[in-house]
């Protein structure tokens, strides 16, 4: 019973990681890739670590796992935001279909010739 629950969680988390990796390949715009690399990865990590916590409940050592989950939730949004901000400020090429708000088009730096 415990094993079933842990297995489901671990498989779900790994599936989300696989989807994140596929998304990295598939999307053409760098910001779309950012969406797909951060969100399923965070949820997948939480699911997999929770599955591991359940699986190791009898053995012990679950405090460290819970610490890692907590730390991940505190820092994943920050690292996602930092990458997004750095890319935006550096003026990377964006998807040409992107609509800009009136205010946003004023702060957008001029894009450089980049790959």
């Amino acid at each position: 019973m415990i094993e079933a629950a842990a297995s489901i969680l671990i498989l779900a988390g790994s599936g989300l990681a696989l989807i994140a990796a596929f998304g990295l390949q598939r999307f053409r715009d760098v910001f779309a890739r950012m969406h797909v690399a951060t969100k399923p990865a965070s949820l997948g990590m939480a699911l997999t670590l929770s599955g591991a916590v359940i699986a190791m409940a009898g053995v012990g050592h679950t405090t460290k796992l819970i610490l890692v989950i907590l730390f991940q939730y505190l820092t994943a949004p920050i690292s996602a935001h930092m990458i997004g901000r750095a890319t935006f400020r550096a003026g990377t090429e964006m998807d040409p279909e992107t609509n800009f708000d009136e205010l946003a088009s004023r702060i957008r730096p001029r894009p450089r010739q980049s790959a």
Binding site: L16, I19, F22, G23, R26, F27, D29, F31, A32, M34, H35, V36, T38, K39, P40, S42, L43, G44, G60, H61, T63, K64, L67, A76, P77, I78, A80, H81, G84, R85, F88, R89, M94, D95, E97, T98, N99, F100, D101, E102, L103, A104, I107, R108
Partner: protein, 173 residues
């Protein structure tokens, strides 16, 4: 001063949790290291003081978890199905709060909610710039951010001289 003590206690607790063994040696060494760390890195108090309201905080956590699951499923669906429904946009949202703590929390939480990613936060004008993946309308995106902001403001009400202003803003909202 109280912030410093709270930081030392929290760091010591994390240290002891990492060693997973509550002995005197662990606690004392943790306290020493926590003390040294807080001497080097200043614990900067926020300009505005906040309380924590437990029930609103719990509502915020539940909302956040539900939105995170929805976000991952939406993105997963987009990856799996062929063709693209992406309509990217950069939207600016004026936040209603005046406190940097609330603005930072909204900016952080927003990176994991469906379809949006925080790009910039302009602190003087309190404007948040987000990148939206599937844009239905600018108004809808702004409404979602304001909803999140209202939840955060309800969970961390302001204590102190800004309280009157915040109460006014919450009534307008």
């Amino acid at each position: 001063m109280r912030r410093l003590a709270a930081a030392i206690v929290w760091l010591t607790a994390v240290w002891v949790a990492l060693w997973e063994d509550v002995t005197w040696a662990n606690v004392l060494s943790g306290a020493l290291i926590a003390f040294l760390i807080t001497r080097r890195i200043r614990v900067v108090p926020s300009r505005v003081r906040h309380r924590v309201r437990p029930r609103a905080f719990l509502a915020l956590v539940l909302y956040f978890v539900r939105e995170l699951i929805k976000a991952s499923l939406i993105v997963a669906w987009e990856v799996i199905t062929p063709g693209t429904r992406i309509n990217p946009a950069v939207v600016s949202v004026r936040l209603r709060t005046r406190s940097p703590f609330v603005a930072t929390t909204v900016a952080n939480l927003n990176s994991l909610t469906p379809g949006t990613l925080t790009l910039e936060l302009d602190e003087e004008t309190m404007t948040l710039f987000i990148h939206v993946l599937h844009l239905e309308s600018i108004q809808a995106s702004r409404r979602a951010i304001h909803h999140l902001e209202a939840l955060v403001m309800a969970a961390f009400p302001v204590r102190g001289e800004l309280q009157a202003e915040q109460a006014e803003e919450q009534e307008v909202a």
